[in-house]
Subunit: 167 residues, 2 copies
DNA sequence: TATTGTTATACTCTATAACTATA
DNA sequence: TATAGTTATAGAGTATAACAATA
């Protein structure tokens, strides 16, 4: 018999554009309050997080990772620098590139922000059971990492402990 | 030991803002091509779909459902009307409201578009195994429906067959 | 000549305000 | 007085183009 998965037909409330849109708006409402005082809000938080976690090696790489334009990245970083959360360093190996490094203040600020953001995320997904939230997070991470061609993290514990050792 | 689910700490690639953002952009790239000729693109498609499926009873309700401003809704509907896909009808019970109804052309157009969009969605999630795609769709739908306070569909087959009978 | 980052500018998208008509 | 829809306008956000520094 026809079903929503195989008939290729009517999508209704499973249409990805709608579900992703609803979820992202709701997420931004919840998280927006937490990040109200962060320079450039959610963008600033994402840049700071990537810098602290050391994901990317230049502003351009960071822009690609976060899906924003390099001209936008400039003033997002400007504001983070002004706020004393990150610093620009010229890459010695390629002096065109700027390596972004977090200040002590930036790392401390991020640690608290990530706790608050995580709590806001859980509020945004509060309608789901705890195990469903975890499943959703993992599937979203797997899909997003595949799209960005990043090796997905198999074991979240490992990754976190790695981060703790680095930090 | 610390883990990503309970320590409330570092988020990395499980941060919802990033995963939802990556996925939505990728989705828009894929689906954007399919909807290039639809008036107002993805917005126009979503409005047309809601009209055909009879979800909402006025432009304002529709705007809330899709998370867009009522002033935007006006010209999205304008373009769909111009394209002959939907019609505005004054609601007899409240003459301030406009009931949107799909034309025959609009219904036929949507049927084909939904097949194409579904295919594009599957391409966007092609890195996930089939059963993981289904799980992700259901969890996203459950979360989004809860946020919008819509009764989530328990059995997708039922919903589709209901739609088929109505259509 | 190509790339990174910056600046200035133009464009697009969205929200605000004011208006009409209905209730 | 309040609400649905429309229109015009202003604002925010984004992309485009031109430039400097470096490869």
């Amino acid at each position: 018999m026809a079903n929503a998965t195989t008939d290729g037909g009517r999508l209704g409330h499973e249409e990805l554009g709608w579900t992703l849109g609803v979820l992202l708006r709701h997420y931004q409402d919840e998280v927006g309050q937490v990040l109200a005082d962060v320079p450039q809000g959610h963008r600033g938080f994402q840049v700071l997080a990537s810098v602290v976690h050391g994901d990317q090696r230049s502003q351009l790489a960071l822009a690609g990772h976060l899906g924003i334009d390099r001209t936008v990245m400039t003033y997002v970083v400007d504001d983070l620098v002004t706020a004393g959360l990150v610093e620009r360093q010229v890459d010695a190996a390629d002096r065109r590139q700027r390596r972004l490094v977090a200040t002590t203040t930036g790392r401390q600020r991020l640690a608290q922000l990530e706790r608050d953001v995580r709590a806001a995320e859980d509020r945004a997904l509060s309608s789901l059971a705890s195990e469903d939230r975890t499943t959703l997070r993992h599937l979203l991470a797997a899909a997003a990492c595949a799209i960005r061609q990043i090796e997905p993290v198999r074991d979240p514990c490992e990754a976190v402990e790695g981060a703790l050792q680095r930090g």
